[in-house]
Each structure stands twice: as structure tokens, then as C-alpha cells.
């Protein structure tokens, strides 16, 4: 078991690093495809972050884009204005979005279910509008010219660490407690679990992950824009999680990749048909909506989830 772990710890980063050399060379590998692959990794992290709070802990969040925005903007601000290196900037983004998650987590003391959902939605919008009104963050026109520090290597290393950490956590005692809160909050409380503490922890952790994804995103596209973190982005993240299978961690990661790949696939497919091609964005969203309805009504466990016993 130990040997296997050591192989993983050394082997995964090393192989990622090797692939990175090959994949980042524009004369060998198409940058257009690299762009898609990297965005797939970033969205996978986002989907996992949502799954952690909503799928595992059962607290429905519609504000994940807000945490992502905090991570993206805070790290971009540091690297752009103060020339801070990438790693400290990411750490800062993680901490700041974790604090935001902590602050949002506190209302969970009082709110449940859809009220909580609405509060997270409100939070996401508040973050967006607040950024719109901050000239030092570029206001409505966004921050431009952010140094491109993210790469295939950093994104997929972050994804690997995220997956490993979340899966390990799920098997540990705190992870089991989070699951028990999802299944029955009142019963968990009766068992003597400090429900509030764990819910706030889950929120903080999930926000930090979303912030990480945001930081990677900002340093990949080199441009952040308040509109990139709108309500629709949060919805897209939910779709990734539901599609992959809520509560499974790896399911949403694959869901995130699929949802990212889908529009590009559609673009290729629709290129033949000018009328549909003109509407490709709507076709994509329509497809998303139908997919979401299909999964939630007919296969609520997603692609990877296990069917639950009737309660």
C-alpha cells in the first residue's frame, strides 16, 4: 500500500510534467485543443468543489461562481499589480475564497434547504456586482493582461491533488459525518455531532477549491471579466455535478470535462449546418437544459452515482 502511494505521489506529477512538455509545444500539439483540455481540467475542479458542498454535505449552493470570482480576481490582482509569483498568488486566492466560504457558511446556522440556496445565489451576485463597482479590479471591463502562468501541468496537478484529497476525506471520519448530515441533519445532531461546525467546514473547503479553479482560470485566459462569473456559470457548474453523479467526487470531475467538451464537439458537428451553427450557443444551452431534466427526473444519481434505496 505504501509503495503504491509513493509511486502515485512521484509518478503522477512526473508523468504530467512529461506530457506537459509535449502538449505545450504549439508545433507538435494544437493550442486550440490544449485550450480545451486545460479548461476541462479547471471545470473538473469546479464541479468537484460544488459536489463537496452540495453532493456530499447536502447543502445546495448556487453561488459557486462567486467563490471562483474571488479566487480569480484576488490572484490576478496580485500577479498583475504586484508581480507576485504564481504559487503565493494561488495560496492567497485559496485563503481569501476560504474566508468568503466561512462567512457564507455561518448563515447555515439559520438557513436550510432552498433558503440557503437563495442566500448563496445572492452572495454570488453580490460578489459580481461588487467587482463591477471596483475600478481597481477593472470594473465592468475586467482585468486584462494577466500573466499566463497556468499550464496543463499546474491545472492537472491541482485536479489530481483535489481528487485525492476529497476521496481520502470522504473515507475518513469527518467525511462520514458530512454524509450523515446530508442524510439526516436532525438525527446527526441527536448523535452529538456539531452539525454547524461541519457545515461551515464544508463550505469553507468547497469555496477554497472553487477559488483555486478561479485562480487557474484567470492565469490561463489572461483575462477576467465579471460576466464570466455570472449566475449562468453557477448553473453550469451544477449541471456538471448533477450529470456526473452527486456525492461521488470523481463523477462530477468527469461531468465537468464532458460539459466543457460538449460545446466544442457541437461546434464541429454543427459546422455543416449553417442555420444550427448560427444558433450553436443556444443549441448547447438547450441541450444542457434537456440533459439536466433528463438526469434529475429519470436518473437522479447521474452517470456514476449509485441508486439510493427508497427512503
Amino acid at each position: 500500500m505504501r509503495a503504491k502511494n509513493i509511486i502515485l505521489v512521484i509518478g503522477i506529477p512526473f508523468s504530467l510534467w512529461l506530457i506537459n512538455h509535449f502538449i505545450s509545444n504549439p508545433s507538435i500539439f494544437s493550442p486550440y485543443i490544449l485550450q480545451i483540455i486545460v479548461l476541462m481540467g479547471i471545470n473538473a475542479i469546479l464541479a468537484v468543489s460544488w459536489d463537496f458542498i452540495s453532493g456530499v454535505t447536502g447543502q445546495f449552493s448556487i453561488g459557486q461562481a462567486g467563490f471562483m470570482a474571488i479566487g480569480a480576481y484576488s490572484s490576478a490582482f496580485l500577479t498583475l499589480k504586484y508581480k507576485v509569483p504564481f504559487l503565493p498568488a494561488i495560496l492567497f486566492a485559496l485563503i481569501l475564497s476560504a474566508i468568503a466560504g466561512f462567512i457564507v457558511g455561518i448563515p447555515t446556522l439559520r438557513l436550510r434547504g432552498d433558503y440557503l440556496a437563495i442566500a448563496t445565489l445572492g452572495f454570488g451576485e453580490i460578489v459580481r456586482v461588487a467587482i463591477l463597482n471596483m475600478p481597481s479590479l477593472g470594473g465592468a471591463t475586467g482585468l486584462k493582461g494577466i500573466p499566463i502562468y497556468s499550464s496543463f501541468f499546474s491545472v492537472y496537478l491541482a485536479l489530481a491533488i483535489t481528487l485525492w484529497f476529497c476521496l481520502a476525506l470522504l473515507k475518513s471520519q469527518p467525511g462520514r459525518i458530512l454524509l450523515s448530515i446530508r442524510e439526516d441533519e436532525i438525527a446527526s445532531q441527536m448523535m452529538g455531532i456539531d452539525v454547524v461546525k461541519y457545515k461551515v467546514f464544508a463550505f469553507t473547503f468547497s469555496a477554497a477549491l472553487a477559488g483555486l479553479a478561479g485562480a487557474l482560470y484567470a492565469h490561463w485566459t489572461s483575462l477576467v471579466h465579471p460576466d464570466s462569473f455570472s449566475f449562468m456559470k453557477s448553473i453550469e457548474i451544477i449541471l456538471m455535478g448533477v450529470l456526473g453523479g452527486m456525492g461521488t467526487i470523481y463523477g462530477p470531475a468527469v461531468g465537468g470535462m464532458l460539459i466543457t467538451l460538449l460545446p466544442e464537439g457541437l461546434r464541429l458537428l454543427l459546422e455543416q449546418n449553417p442555420l444550427l451553427y448560427q444558433n450553436k450557443d443556444f443549441v448547447r444551452m438547450l441541450f444542457f437544459a434537456i440533459l439536466l431534466l433528463f438526469f434529475i427526473i429519470l436518473r437522479p444519481q447521474g452517470i456514476f452515482g449509485k441508486r439510493e434505496a427508497k427512503g
Binding site: R110, D114, A117, G122, E125, I126, I290
Partner: protein, 299 residues
Amino acid sequence: MSLFFQQLINGLAWGGIYALIAIGYTMVYGIMQLINFAHGDVFMAGAFAGYVIAQLLPDKSSLPSVILVFLSAMLFSTFLGILIERLGYRSLWKKNAPRLSLLIVAVAISLLLENVGLMIFGAAPRSFPSIIPSRSFSLGSISFTNIQVIVILSSLVLMVALQLIVMRTKMGRAMRAVAEDSEMSALLGIPRERILSFTFALGSALAGVAGVMVAIYTPQINPLMGILPGLKAFVSAVLGGIGSIPGAMLGGFVLGEAETLVSAYISSSYRDLLAFLILIFVLLFLPSGLLGKGVAEKL
């Protein structure tokens, strides 16, 4: 001072519109504890239904065609509301599915409606034909238009009518009973499903009218026009006390005025922030809203 009153009038029209949409949110929430995210898009659909009919009419600004536009918008959104309830929510509601699933369905339906709208009408905004030619009036230094007056008055009339339906008719009494205790009312022989459909129909009809009002007032429509007013109307419903119909009306007017005053005296860029700040404040410190009654969590 006249500036202040002028701004109040500007806010009143939006207040009425928010109130009309908020009623639909609050009624549905009262019965099935669901935030019907698709409601804002029903509002949008009403505006587009009115648009299509107005395009077809030869004499756009005669009284019969104005009535026809409003009626068709109401009918279409009523139909849409019932359709959403039947196909989207009912099976899950009957199965007692987790509220999370219902919420996701609501989000999906909202996406569906928006993108169907985008495919049919495109993303570029369209001008709504002026079925009521706007005329300005001045009262001292305050000026207002006939459209503002129509929007405010007709929203008030509709609210009174709704209140009568809910308080005085048999259907209304049944609605209140189901909202009070859904299972008990079913045991007493009230057809819960029919009441649910009726609630959706009523809320959607009001949203449809509100859609046409906004379309005439601004006068511009686009398939995403329902998102923000929808969210804000929901905030109005929470502010007034979710589940309470007079609360939704009050919340709508309070929010409309508050937004206008913020953008008049602080900055228009903070207008959209206000609604969500109010939302979080109310959720944390005044969970039963202005007119709602506190309800203990049922075990």
C-alpha cells in the same frame, strides 16, 4: 423635493411590476415549498406572446387590440405555467422527491425557456410596438406618462382582484387550506393536484400581464429579460414574507422604491446589489419577512 417625488413615481411602476411577479413566487412557495425559478421566464414568455400578437394586428393602438394583446399574453403564460407544473414538477412532487431535485428541475426549465426564446427570437433586443402611444403629462415640475399611470393602476386592480379570488372563492379557500397543511387537506377531500395547477395558472397569468407591462414601459424585450426581474421579484416575496400574498405586494413596492432611491441618490451601479443585500439581511434577521408569520421547522 420635486426631484424626490419624480423619482418616487419612477420607482412606483417597477414596484407594481415586481409585485405582480412576486405573487406567483409566493403562492407556489406556499403550496409546494418550491422556488419556481422558471417564473421569471414565464414573465418573459408573456411579453413575447404579446409581441407576436401585436405584430399580427393591423391597428396596433386601438383599444380592442390593446386588450387582445394583454389577454393573449395572459392566456399564453397561463398555459405555459400549467404545462411547467404538469410536466416538470408534478411527478416529483407526488413522489415526495427531495426539494433539491425540484429546485434543479426549476433551474433546468428556466434554462430551457430562455434558450427556446433565444433560438426563436435571437439575442438582439427587439422593440415592442407602441400599442399605447406614450403621452407625457406635467404636474408642476413632476412629469409622468400615461403608461406609468396605466402600469401602476392596472397592477393595483389586478392585486385587488387576486385578493378577492383568494379570500372569497371556493378555489381560493382550497388554496389556502392546501398551503396550511397539504396532507390534511388531501385527507379532507381537496384535490391537491387541481389546486396546484390553479395556483400556477393564477401566478403565471399575473406574470404574463407584468411581461406586457414591462414591454410597453421600456419598450424593449429580449429572451433573457426575465432573469433579473424574476430574481428581484423573488426577493420581494421573501421581503414581504414568503407565502403571504399581501406581503409579496408590499415587498414589490418597497423594493421598487428602494432601488430607484439608491440609484438616484447613491449610484445606479449599486441598484442590482441592493436587492441581494436585502435578501441576505432578511434571511438572516427577519426570516418571516415583513408580513409573514414565523413557522417552526416541521420534523
